[in-house]
Amino acid sequence: MTALAAPAPRGDAPAAAAPLVALRGVAKRFASGTLALAGVDLDIAPGEFLSLLGPSGCGKSTLLRLLAGLAAPSAGRVAWAPGHEERRREIGFVFQDPTLMPWASALDNVRLPLRLAGVPRAEAEARAAAALARVGLAGFERAWPRELSGGMRMRVSLARALVTRPSLLLMDEPFAALDEPTRHRLNDDLLALWAESGVTVVFVTHSVFESVYLSTRIAVLSARPGRVAAELRQDGAPLPRGPDYRTSAAYAALCRAASHALAAATEGAA
């Protein structure tokens, strides 16, 4: 059964395990004066699949960069659970573009994080090959990025993000540029990887359907300056989800709820 919650005001979520990362009153103002985020409160629970759903330009990418430590908040705190402070070994990042090194083979691209961490070459290559196999690219180790299709490049990017066995996987609209069948296949494979590895995922998207299909929880962001306007959870949705879920009543209902929440959040700030 799908436990379907109506858009709940923030803070009403049932208290889960101690969050992996907690954002409190986070704001980001750029030097240009743009206020991208204001008053963001968000807990990221270990093991969850959280989607950040919001209109274009509302600060989703900025929020991910703050989580990754690539930028500092101008106000508020990004606090990690004890034992997880050594962030760089804990995070995988997937951008909207595959962001591969065009001069390196698929294997060398995936090996990069290990190489930067000083893992011995033989071990790093074995782990990179295993990561490639996990995303369905066994046999493409020696392929160059330009020889791969858009979907396969994104898989390489995903393998690179997973090769360090991160506890937190940040994904910034990773499938937005792909065609629909490819996107659906990658959605399913991502869910399988998530279930198998136990990684916590924060997934940025502007697609209601994608967020509903993938997540255990959706945080709807308001238009700029972004803050969490509503949260939807679907803890009980049967996993693994498949093509049947896309046509189920529960899926349709949650899509409707998420669309309303998104519309309300967008208008509320406009």
Partner: protein, 264 residues
């Protein structure tokens, strides 16, 4: 480079055009009975080239040696400076204007000074050719080092890459296509620099490079030999350009847009 539509005819077009022009030239020279000391025909030039080959080939080696050494020095100094500039904005702001000054000052104006200051003529020629050749290497490489993908740079930061790792694994590979484009320009400039400097030095009565042979032949009114030396310089320039183009293609063909053979 993008093979698809290049038939053999298209490929041979430049050579055919060249042959046509040579034939026309020879025909006109004969038809109007132009004397050799005004304008020799291509056959007369070829005869001079064959007859004077020992002399000209020795001079060719001298000029080529200067040009190639200058190019090597340009790569070394231009490349190293570019890496330094990429590491420190401050250094770039302090030094780059002087590189520009060197670049925009005509080499014919500096060459006499350098020939006075530097006793060894070969070294003086080398310095002149180097001055002309190093700027494209420097400016292109600086641009290339700065144009690494931003998201990739973020990724390196996320994984705690050292400055050295960022340079070696990200910035240098990103700069390679830019560097090679600069190198191709620098190759031609090194040859021009060597020849110009030889002209200046030759007026002082020393040197035995191709430029000096041209001067010497013009004093002696041996116009076919002048043309033969000129043809050798051009051939050298073309060969250098083609060689560097081949290098560029070899290094980039696996991954860079500029060198991809498009399949249709």
């Amino acid at each position: 480079m993008n093979g698809g539509d290049e038939g053999p005819l298209r490929r041979a077009a430049p050579a055919l055009l060249g042959l046509g022009v040579l034939a026309l030239w020879e025909g006109l020279v004969r038809a109007y009975a132009v004397p050799d000391y005004v304008l020799p025909g291509p056959l007369a030039v070829a005869r001079a080239l064959a007859a004077d080959w020992p002399l000209l080939s020795a001079s060719l080696l001298v000029t080529l040696e200067v040009a190639v050494l200058a190019l090597a020095a340009a790569v070394l100094v231009g490349g190293l400076l570019a890496v330094l500039f990429a590491q420190s904005r401050w250094l770039e702001r302090a030094l780059f204007p002087y590189a520009v000054v060197l670049q925009v000052t005509p080499i014919v104006a500096i060459a006499p000074l350098i020939l006075i200051w530097v006793d060894n003529v070969t070294v003086a020629l080398l310095i002149c050719a180097w001055i002309v050749a190093f700027f494209p290497v420097l400016s292109n490489t600086v641009l290339g080092l700065r144009s690494a993908d931003r998201n990739l740079a973020d990724l390196f930061r996320l994984y705690g890459a050292t400055r050295w790792q960022v340079l070696w694994l990200l910035r240098l590979p990103s700069a390679l296509p830019f560097f090679l484009a600069g190198l191709r320009v620098a190759g031609g400039l090194a040859l021009i620099g060597a020849v110009v400097a030889e002209f200046v030095a030759g007026a002082g009565g020393s040197g035995s490079g191709l430029a000096f042979r041209i001067l010497e032949a013009s004093f002696q009114l041996r116009i076919p030999r002048m043309f033969a030396a000129l043809a050798l310089i051009s051939a050298c320039g073309i060969a250098l350009f083609a060689l560097l183009g081949l290098l560029q293609h070899r290094l980039l063909r696996r991954w860079h847009e500029s060198a991809l053979a498009r399949e249709r």
